[in-house]
Symmetry: C2
Subunit: 215 residues, 2 copies
Protein backbone atom coordinates (compact mmCIF):
# COMPACT_ATOMS: atom_id res chain seq x y z
CA UNK A 1 0.00 0.00 0.00
CA UNK A 2 1.25 3.47 -0.78
CA UNK A 3 1.71 5.88 2.10
CA UNK A 4 -1.25 7.80 3.50
CA UNK A 5 -1.41 11.43 2.36
CA UNK A 6 -2.02 14.37 4.66
CA UNK A 7 -3.29 17.43 2.80
CA UNK A 8 -2.80 20.76 4.54
CA UNK A 9 -0.40 23.47 5.70
CA UNK A 10 2.03 22.79 8.51
CA UNK A 11 1.24 25.92 10.53
CA UNK A 12 -2.47 25.07 10.83
CA UNK A 13 -3.33 24.01 14.40
CA UNK A 14 -5.80 21.45 13.03
CA UNK A 15 -3.22 19.95 10.68
CA UNK A 16 -0.78 19.87 13.60
CA UNK A 17 -3.25 17.78 15.63
CA UNK A 18 -3.15 15.11 12.95
CA UNK A 19 0.63 15.32 12.51
CA UNK A 20 1.15 14.77 16.24
CA UNK A 21 -1.25 11.81 16.27
CA UNK A 22 0.47 10.25 13.24
CA UNK A 23 3.84 10.73 14.92
CA UNK A 24 2.66 9.25 18.23
CA UNK A 25 1.31 6.21 16.38
CA UNK A 26 4.42 5.88 14.23
CA UNK A 27 2.51 6.17 10.95
CA UNK A 28 4.59 7.24 7.98
CA UNK A 29 2.81 9.58 5.55
CA UNK A 30 3.29 12.00 2.73
CA UNK A 31 2.42 15.66 3.25
CA UNK A 32 0.78 17.56 0.40
CA UNK A 33 0.54 21.32 0.71
CA UNK A 34 -2.99 22.76 0.56
CA UNK A 35 -3.99 26.15 1.90
CA UNK A 36 -7.25 26.52 3.86
CA UNK A 37 -10.24 27.56 1.77
CA UNK A 38 -8.92 25.90 -1.38
CA UNK A 39 -11.32 26.30 -4.29
CA UNK A 40 -9.75 23.46 -6.30
CA UNK A 41 -12.51 21.14 -7.49
CA UNK A 42 -10.16 18.20 -7.09
CA UNK A 43 -9.51 19.10 -3.45
CA UNK A 44 -13.18 19.89 -2.76
CA UNK A 45 -14.07 16.38 -3.94
CA UNK A 46 -12.03 15.18 -0.95
CA UNK A 47 -12.82 18.00 1.50
CA UNK A 48 -16.21 19.51 0.56
CA UNK A 49 -15.75 22.70 2.58
CA UNK A 50 -12.19 23.23 1.33
CA UNK A 51 -10.93 22.91 4.90
CA UNK A 52 -7.62 21.46 6.01
CA UNK A 53 -6.50 18.91 7.02
CA UNK A 54 -7.77 16.11 4.82
CA UNK A 55 -6.34 12.62 5.31
CA UNK A 56 -6.25 10.11 2.48
CA UNK A 57 -5.60 6.39 2.12
CA UNK A 58 -6.17 5.32 -1.49
CA UNK A 59 -9.77 6.19 -2.40
CA UNK A 60 -10.69 6.97 1.18
CA UNK A 61 -10.53 10.72 1.86
CA UNK A 62 -11.46 12.13 5.25
CA UNK A 63 -11.64 15.81 6.21
CA UNK A 64 -11.89 17.21 9.75
CA UNK A 65 -9.11 16.80 12.31
CA UNK A 66 -11.38 15.28 14.96
CA UNK A 67 -12.78 12.68 12.56
CA UNK A 68 -9.25 11.90 11.37
CA UNK A 69 -7.95 11.34 14.91
CA UNK A 70 -10.93 9.10 15.67
CA UNK A 71 -10.26 7.14 12.48
CA UNK A 72 -6.58 6.71 13.25
CA UNK A 73 -7.49 5.30 16.68
CA UNK A 74 -9.76 2.67 15.11
CA UNK A 75 -7.39 1.78 12.28
CA UNK A 76 -4.14 1.97 14.30
CA UNK A 77 -5.14 1.37 17.94
CA UNK A 78 -1.63 1.40 19.46
CA UNK A 79 -0.61 3.45 21.32
CA UNK A 80 -4.10 4.48 22.46
CA UNK A 81 -4.74 8.21 22.22
CA UNK A 82 -8.18 8.01 23.81
CA UNK A 83 -8.91 6.86 27.38
CA UNK A 84 -10.67 3.48 27.59
CA UNK A 85 -13.00 4.44 30.46
CA UNK A 86 -16.25 5.76 28.87
CA UNK A 87 -16.48 8.86 31.07
CA UNK A 88 -12.81 9.77 30.67
CA UNK A 89 -13.09 9.07 26.94
CA UNK A 90 -16.01 11.49 26.79
CA UNK A 91 -14.13 14.10 28.81
CA UNK A 92 -11.25 13.84 26.33
CA UNK A 93 -13.69 14.50 23.47
CA UNK A 94 -15.11 17.47 25.34
CA UNK A 95 -11.65 18.97 25.88
CA UNK A 96 -10.90 18.42 22.19
CA UNK A 97 -14.09 20.26 21.24
CA UNK A 98 -13.32 23.04 23.72
CA UNK A 99 -9.85 23.40 22.22
CA UNK A 100 -11.03 23.32 18.59
CA UNK A 101 -13.56 26.08 19.21
CA UNK A 102 -12.86 28.17 22.32
CA UNK A 103 -9.08 27.85 22.75
CA UNK A 104 -8.75 28.30 19.00
CA UNK A 105 -10.69 31.53 19.27
CA UNK A 106 -8.48 33.11 21.93
CA UNK A 107 -5.05 31.68 21.04
CA UNK A 108 -4.81 32.12 17.28
CA UNK A 109 -5.67 35.81 16.86
CA UNK A 110 -2.05 36.98 17.02
CA UNK A 111 -0.97 34.29 14.58
CA UNK A 112 -3.80 35.15 12.21
CA UNK A 113 -2.97 38.85 12.34
CA UNK A 114 0.82 38.64 12.15
CA UNK A 115 1.10 35.77 9.66
CA UNK A 116 -2.08 35.38 7.64
CA UNK A 117 -3.17 39.03 7.51
CA UNK A 118 0.21 40.77 7.46
CA UNK A 119 2.39 38.36 5.50
CA UNK A 120 0.02 36.38 3.28
CA UNK A 121 -2.68 38.98 2.67
CA UNK A 122 -0.44 42.08 2.96
CA UNK A 123 -2.97 43.80 5.19
CA UNK A 124 -2.32 45.90 8.30
CA UNK A 125 -2.15 44.10 11.66
CA UNK A 126 -5.15 44.73 13.94
CA UNK A 127 -3.23 45.24 17.19
CA UNK A 128 -6.45 45.95 19.08
CA UNK A 129 -7.84 42.52 18.13
CA UNK A 130 -4.65 40.90 19.45
CA UNK A 131 -4.75 42.93 22.67
CA UNK A 132 -8.39 42.07 23.29
CA UNK A 133 -7.84 38.34 22.64
CA UNK A 134 -4.84 38.12 24.98
CA UNK A 135 -6.01 40.37 27.80
CA UNK A 136 -9.81 39.99 27.79
CA UNK A 137 -10.82 36.77 26.06
CA UNK A 138 -7.93 34.44 26.94
CA UNK A 139 -7.77 34.80 30.76
CA UNK A 140 -11.11 33.03 31.50
CA UNK A 141 -10.05 30.21 29.16
CA UNK A 142 -6.64 29.90 30.84
CA UNK A 143 -8.36 30.00 34.24
CA UNK A 144 -10.58 27.10 33.18
CA UNK A 145 -7.60 25.05 31.99
CA UNK A 146 -5.64 25.85 35.17
CA UNK A 147 -8.57 24.63 37.27
CA UNK A 148 -9.18 21.51 35.16
CA UNK A 149 -5.50 20.57 35.19
CA UNK A 150 -5.27 20.88 38.97
CA UNK A 151 -2.32 18.58 39.72
CA UNK A 152 -2.95 16.30 36.77
CA UNK A 153 -0.23 15.40 34.31
CA UNK A 154 -2.71 15.08 31.42
CA UNK A 155 -6.19 16.48 30.92
CA UNK A 156 -8.16 13.22 30.71
CA UNK A 157 -7.93 9.69 32.00
CA UNK A 158 -4.37 9.87 33.38
CA UNK A 159 -2.87 9.43 29.93
CA UNK A 160 -1.73 11.48 26.96
CA UNK A 161 -4.78 11.80 24.72
CA UNK A 162 -6.55 13.80 22.04
CA UNK A 163 -7.43 16.26 24.80
CA UNK A 164 -3.74 17.15 25.16
CA UNK A 165 -3.01 16.98 21.44
CA UNK A 166 -5.78 19.48 20.68
CA UNK A 167 -5.28 21.82 23.63
CA UNK A 168 -1.53 22.17 23.18
CA UNK A 169 -1.79 22.70 19.43
CA UNK A 170 -3.40 26.15 19.61
CA UNK A 171 -0.74 27.38 22.02
CA UNK A 172 1.91 26.62 19.41
CA UNK A 173 0.34 29.26 17.16
CA UNK A 174 0.26 31.69 20.07
CA UNK A 175 3.98 31.11 20.61
CA UNK A 176 4.73 31.46 16.90
CA UNK A 177 3.13 34.92 17.13
CA UNK A 178 5.50 35.77 19.99
CA UNK A 179 3.06 35.50 22.89
CA UNK A 180 3.34 33.35 26.02
CA UNK A 181 1.09 32.24 28.87
CA UNK A 182 1.99 34.22 32.01
CA UNK A 183 3.69 31.59 34.19
CA UNK A 184 3.11 33.54 37.40
CA UNK A 185 -0.63 33.69 36.81
CA UNK A 186 -1.14 30.23 35.25
CA UNK A 187 1.73 28.06 36.58
CA UNK A 188 0.03 24.70 36.01
CA UNK A 189 -0.97 25.53 32.45
CA UNK A 190 2.57 26.76 31.75
CA UNK A 191 4.15 23.56 33.11
CA UNK A 192 1.61 21.45 31.27
CA UNK A 193 2.27 23.11 27.92
CA UNK A 194 6.05 22.72 28.38
CA UNK A 195 5.47 19.04 29.16
CA UNK A 196 3.22 18.37 26.15
CA UNK A 197 5.29 20.47 23.75
CA UNK A 198 8.40 18.67 25.03
CA UNK A 199 7.20 15.23 23.92
CA UNK A 200 9.26 13.86 21.00
CA UNK A 201 6.24 14.08 18.66
CA UNK A 202 5.43 17.71 19.45
CA UNK A 203 9.07 18.80 19.81
CA UNK A 204 10.10 17.67 16.32
CA UNK A 205 7.02 19.23 14.74
CA UNK A 206 7.47 22.57 16.51
CA UNK A 207 11.15 22.70 15.53
CA UNK A 208 10.26 22.01 11.91
CA UNK A 209 7.63 24.77 11.97
CA UNK A 210 10.05 27.24 13.57
CA UNK A 211 12.56 26.53 10.85
CA UNK A 212 9.86 27.13 8.23
CA UNK A 213 9.04 30.57 9.65
CA UNK A 214 12.66 31.48 10.25
CA UNK A 215 12.72 31.33 14.02
CA UNK B 1 -29.04 4.97 40.28
CA UNK B 2 -31.18 8.01 39.61
CA UNK B 3 -32.08 8.78 36.02
CA UNK B 4 -29.63 10.64 33.78
CA UNK B 5 -30.48 14.32 33.28
CA UNK B 6 -30.51 16.07 29.94
CA UNK B 7 -30.18 19.85 30.28
CA UNK B 8 -31.41 21.90 27.34
CA UNK B 9 -34.35 23.15 25.31
CA UNK B 10 -36.37 20.75 23.17
CA UNK B 11 -36.29 22.84 19.99
CA UNK B 12 -32.48 22.94 19.85
CA UNK B 13 -31.17 20.76 17.01
CA UNK B 14 -28.20 19.73 19.17
CA UNK B 15 -30.45 18.74 22.08
CA UNK B 16 -32.60 16.82 19.61
CA UNK B 17 -29.57 14.79 18.49
CA UNK B 18 -29.13 13.56 22.05
CA UNK B 19 -32.85 12.94 22.58
CA UNK B 20 -33.01 10.80 19.45
CA UNK B 21 -29.93 8.81 20.52
CA UNK B 22 -31.36 8.27 24.02
CA UNK B 23 -34.63 7.12 22.48
CA UNK B 24 -32.92 4.76 20.02
CA UNK B 25 -30.95 3.22 22.89
CA UNK B 26 -33.99 3.03 25.17
CA UNK B 27 -32.40 5.14 27.91
CA UNK B 28 -34.85 6.77 30.28
CA UNK B 29 -33.89 10.28 31.41
CA UNK B 30 -35.14 13.45 32.99
CA UNK B 31 -35.22 16.65 30.93
CA UNK B 32 -34.28 19.91 32.66
CA UNK B 33 -35.00 23.12 30.79
CA UNK B 34 -31.97 25.35 30.12
CA UNK B 35 -31.80 28.00 27.44
CA UNK B 36 -28.65 28.35 25.31
CA UNK B 37 -26.15 30.90 26.62
CA UNK B 38 -27.18 30.40 30.24
CA UNK B 39 -25.13 32.60 32.56
CA UNK B 40 -26.04 30.55 35.66
CA UNK B 41 -22.83 29.74 37.56
CA UNK B 42 -24.31 26.39 38.54
CA UNK B 43 -24.96 25.49 34.90
CA UNK B 44 -21.60 26.84 33.74
CA UNK B 45 -19.89 24.51 36.22
CA UNK B 46 -21.38 21.70 34.12
CA UNK B 47 -21.21 23.34 30.68
CA UNK B 48 -18.39 25.92 30.71
CA UNK B 49 -19.54 27.74 27.57
CA UNK B 50 -23.18 27.82 28.68
CA UNK B 51 -24.10 25.72 25.66
CA UNK B 52 -26.86 23.13 25.44
CA UNK B 53 -27.22 20.20 25.65
CA UNK B 54 -25.41 19.01 28.75
CA UNK B 55 -25.85 15.39 29.84
CA UNK B 56 -25.45 14.37 33.46
CA UNK B 57 -25.15 11.09 35.37
CA UNK B 58 -24.52 11.81 39.06
CA UNK B 59 -21.33 13.89 39.32
CA UNK B 60 -20.45 13.31 35.68
CA UNK B 61 -21.53 16.24 33.52
CA UNK B 62 -20.80 16.31 29.80
CA UNK B 63 -21.50 19.16 27.38
CA UNK B 64 -21.43 18.97 23.57
CA UNK B 65 -23.84 16.83 21.58
CA UNK B 66 -21.10 14.99 19.67
CA UNK B 67 -19.23 14.08 22.86
CA UNK B 68 -22.51 12.99 24.47
CA UNK B 69 -23.41 10.70 21.56
CA UNK B 70 -19.91 9.19 21.64
CA UNK B 71 -20.25 8.64 25.38
CA UNK B 72 -23.65 6.98 25.07
CA UNK B 73 -22.21 4.57 22.49
CA UNK B 74 -19.44 3.51 24.88
CA UNK B 75 -21.65 3.30 27.95
CA UNK B 76 -24.71 1.79 26.22
CA UNK B 77 -23.39 0.01 23.13
CA UNK B 78 -26.71 -1.49 21.94
CA UNK B 79 -28.10 -0.75 19.44
CA UNK B 80 -24.95 0.58 17.80
CA UNK B 81 -25.30 4.10 16.42
CA UNK B 82 -21.83 4.15 14.85
CA UNK B 83 -20.63 1.83 12.06
CA UNK B 84 -18.05 -0.74 13.16
CA UNK B 85 -15.87 -0.51 10.04
CA UNK B 86 -13.18 2.14 10.74
CA UNK B 87 -13.64 3.99 7.45
CA UNK B 88 -17.43 4.01 7.63
CA UNK B 89 -17.19 5.03 11.30
CA UNK B 90 -15.00 7.95 10.27
CA UNK B 91 -17.37 8.90 7.44
CA UNK B 92 -20.23 8.97 9.96
CA UNK B 93 -18.20 11.36 12.15
CA UNK B 94 -17.49 13.53 9.13
CA UNK B 95 -21.19 13.73 8.21
CA UNK B 96 -21.98 14.59 11.83
CA UNK B 97 -19.43 17.41 11.75
CA UNK B 98 -20.74 18.61 8.39
CA UNK B 99 -24.28 18.66 9.81
CA UNK B 100 -23.32 20.39 13.05
CA UNK B 101 -21.56 23.20 11.20
CA UNK B 102 -22.60 23.53 7.54
CA UNK B 103 -26.13 22.10 7.50
CA UNK B 104 -26.78 23.97 10.75
CA UNK B 105 -25.74 27.19 9.05
CA UNK B 106 -28.12 26.88 6.10
CA UNK B 107 -31.12 25.12 7.70
CA UNK B 108 -31.68 27.02 10.96
CA UNK B 109 -31.82 30.61 9.74
CA UNK B 110 -35.61 30.63 9.31
CA UNK B 111 -36.10 29.03 12.71
CA UNK B 112 -33.73 31.49 14.34
CA UNK B 113 -35.46 34.46 12.73
CA UNK B 114 -39.09 33.36 13.20
CA UNK B 115 -38.76 31.83 16.67
CA UNK B 116 -35.71 33.16 18.49
CA UNK B 117 -35.62 36.67 17.04
CA UNK B 118 -39.33 37.33 16.53
CA UNK B 119 -40.93 35.48 19.44
CA UNK B 120 -38.26 35.30 22.15
CA UNK B 121 -36.38 38.52 21.47
CA UNK B 122 -39.32 40.51 20.04
CA UNK B 123 -37.19 41.74 17.15
CA UNK B 124 -38.17 42.12 13.48
CA UNK B 125 -37.66 39.10 11.20
CA UNK B 126 -34.80 39.48 8.71
CA UNK B 127 -36.58 38.07 5.65
CA UNK B 128 -33.56 38.73 3.46
CA UNK B 129 -31.39 36.50 5.66
CA UNK B 130 -33.96 33.72 5.32
CA UNK B 131 -34.21 34.17 1.56
CA UNK B 132 -30.43 34.10 1.15
CA UNK B 133 -30.05 30.98 3.31
CA UNK B 134 -32.74 29.05 1.45
CA UNK B 135 -32.04 30.14 -2.11
CA UNK B 136 -28.27 30.77 -2.16
CA UNK B 137 -26.56 28.94 0.70
CA UNK B 138 -28.70 25.82 1.03
CA UNK B 139 -28.73 24.50 -2.57
CA UNK B 140 -25.01 23.51 -2.70
CA UNK B 141 -25.45 21.74 0.65
CA UNK B 142 -28.55 19.90 -0.54
CA UNK B 143 -26.72 19.02 -3.78
CA UNK B 144 -23.90 17.51 -1.72
CA UNK B 145 -26.31 15.44 0.38
CA UNK B 146 -28.22 14.32 -2.74
CA UNK B 147 -24.97 13.13 -4.30
CA UNK B 148 -23.69 11.45 -1.12
CA UNK B 149 -27.00 9.67 -0.55
CA UNK B 150 -27.08 8.30 -4.09
CA UNK B 151 -29.29 5.22 -3.66
CA UNK B 152 -28.27 4.61 -0.06
CA UNK B 153 -30.81 4.16 2.70
CA UNK B 154 -28.50 5.72 5.30
CA UNK B 155 -25.53 8.05 4.99
CA UNK B 156 -22.79 5.81 6.43
CA UNK B 157 -22.03 2.12 6.76
CA UNK B 158 -25.41 0.80 5.62
CA UNK B 159 -26.96 1.45 9.01
CA UNK B 160 -28.76 4.19 10.92
CA UNK B 161 -26.04 6.18 12.63
CA UNK B 162 -25.00 9.52 14.15
CA UNK B 163 -24.62 10.73 10.56
CA UNK B 164 -28.38 10.41 10.07
CA UNK B 165 -29.27 11.62 13.57
CA UNK B 166 -27.28 14.83 13.06
CA UNK B 167 -28.20 15.50 9.43
CA UNK B 168 -31.93 15.04 9.92
CA UNK B 169 -32.03 17.14 13.09
CA UNK B 170 -31.35 20.47 11.39
CA UNK B 171 -34.09 19.87 8.85
CA UNK B 172 -36.62 19.59 11.69
CA UNK B 173 -35.90 23.24 12.54
CA UNK B 174 -36.28 24.16 8.88
CA UNK B 175 -39.70 22.47 8.84
CA UNK B 176 -40.73 24.13 12.11
CA UNK B 177 -40.07 27.46 10.37
CA UNK B 178 -42.40 26.41 7.55
CA UNK B 179 -39.81 25.59 4.90
CA UNK B 180 -39.34 22.35 2.98
CA UNK B 181 -36.73 20.77 0.72
CA UNK B 182 -37.92 20.95 -2.89
CA UNK B 183 -38.76 17.32 -3.70
CA UNK B 184 -38.53 17.83 -7.45
CA UNK B 185 -34.99 19.18 -7.19
CA UNK B 186 -33.69 16.93 -4.37
CA UNK B 187 -35.81 13.76 -4.51
CA UNK B 188 -33.34 11.50 -2.70
CA UNK B 189 -32.81 13.96 0.13
CA UNK B 190 -36.59 14.41 0.45
CA UNK B 191 -37.20 10.65 0.66
CA UNK B 192 -34.30 10.23 3.06
CA UNK B 193 -35.57 12.91 5.44
CA UNK B 194 -39.08 11.40 5.40
CA UNK B 195 -37.53 8.00 6.19
CA UNK B 196 -35.36 9.26 9.07
CA UNK B 197 -38.04 11.56 10.50
CA UNK B 198 -40.49 8.66 10.26
CA UNK B 199 -38.51 6.41 12.63
CA UNK B 200 -40.32 5.93 15.96
CA UNK B 201 -37.60 7.87 17.82
CA UNK B 202 -37.71 10.92 15.56
CA UNK B 203 -41.48 10.76 14.98
CA UNK B 204 -42.38 10.97 18.68
CA UNK B 205 -39.91 13.78 19.29
CA UNK B 206 -41.10 15.83 16.32
CA UNK B 207 -44.74 15.39 17.37
CA UNK B 208 -43.91 16.54 20.88
CA UNK B 209 -42.09 19.59 19.52
CA UNK B 210 -44.95 20.47 17.18
CA UNK B 211 -47.37 20.33 20.11
CA UNK B 212 -45.05 22.65 22.07
CA UNK B 213 -45.07 25.26 19.31
CA UNK B 214 -48.77 24.87 18.60
CA UNK B 215 -48.57 23.16 15.22
Amino acid sequence: MSKPILHGAILSPYVRKVRVALSEKGIDYEGVSVMPGSQSAEYRAKSPLGKIPCYQEGDFALPDSSAILAYLERAYPKPALYPSDPQQYARALWYEEYADTKIAQVCTVGFFQRFVQAILMKKPVDEEAIRKALTEDAPPVFDYLEKELSDREFLAGGQFSVADIATASFFVNMEHAGDRVDASRWPRLTDYLARIHGRPSYKAIIEQEKAAIGR
